[in-house]
Symmetry: C2
Subunit: 236 residues, 2 copies
Amino acid sequence: MEVQIAVAKVNKYAVSESGDTLEVVERPSGGLSVVLADGQTSGRGAKAVSMMVVRKVISLLAEGVRDGAAARAASDALFTEKHGKVISTLNIASIDLHTNTIVLARNNPVPVYICRGEQIDAHTEESRPLGTSRNVRPVITELAVEAGLTIIIFTDGIIHAGERSGHPMNVGETIRSIIEDQDPSPQELADSLLAHAISLDDNRPADDISVLVVKVITPSGDNVRRMNVRLPIHAK
Amino acid sequence: MEVQIAVAKVNKYAVSESGDTLEVVERPSGGLSVVLADGQTSGRGAKAVSMMVVRKVISLLAEGVRDGAAARAASDALFTEKHGKVISTLNIASIDLHTNTIVLARNNPVPVYICRGEQIDAHTEESRPLGTSRNVRPVITELAVEAGLTIIIFTDGIIHAGERSGHPMNVGETIRSIIEDQDPSPQELADSLLAHAISLDDNRPADDISVLVVKVITPSGDNVRRMNVRLPIHAK
């Protein structure tokens, strides 16, 4: 089998720095973790918060700390530094080759979608962002690695897309229409969801938006690990 | 313009853990750094060394430390811990959006290839791995971000491919033939170079092999950052 991870990420319109930070780290026991944080507000201040949270989490994961404990530590650190005045959402998706599971940790009111074939489930259990108080715990979901499993995680830019123009996005329906249309690759799925959100915002995203898709496929072609990053840049 | 980064990475035959570690980190002033280390020997011990080096470097880069200083710090830390008995190569490729340059730092005797159109240059300045002594400095190359620039970085698994069977790889010629054949995407280029090395090793890589390609293209399609990871896994 092969686990494929895709990310599509855009800044709020006319803001040069995204408040969303996403990084990937190798787990010491094998596998990868993808860590996504969305700092309160947008621009430079939000970026500093989300980078602080992601750095904290990935440094702990790299030391072998469990995902839930890493999320709680990042929350305590943020609360201690900002006294509850600045918060950040956090999603961790870990492919753990030691237990052959995918572990999702969520400190984010925005739901996560888990799809198996035609079945699409929104995981909407209540979940608080980091830094809101002491003792904030993530919602943990552990899934066996099995072919056909697709996980869709995003920041609240997706949820709020189109609200300004009075046409808010129905995320579940949008995901269903993308998945039913074809058997999309993770990148196609992430790109389509992001493109739909941007179009609802009249091509001027009202917030930073990040979409992360994890898909398990079978069979894999070869034994090669691959990574691909595309970074648009603007001449100064 | 858009900077595209591609990685293709394979373990030594019949070894479950690669001694090569590669991670990507966001730079606090904008842009990304890709950090690749190859720990001495292969398997678990080498992995621990290369992970230690990469963790050290990315945590410093995330704090805003310059690439050369981060490399020197990682070398000192490794030398202090292992007394010169364990060494590791290190390559850093940074896309610095603050200066609009690509900065290459190399502590690796293996050359880096820099291509502009048909011109392919091997950068072979002498360079020592980390941890060999005190005061090890990287070779630094700074390049303007310009369309058509392609940078090819790899670990010594590429250089040694085919030696066992007496048909060592001519890396420069292989790169030329791949580039002349078509206008390959970075992923196609990385995949082709890796596939050629594996075939010279009779499909049983004699060492861990990692290939990293950075390419500047113009124009970019949209303002979306994308990332894609493919992780083959084996049921236990």
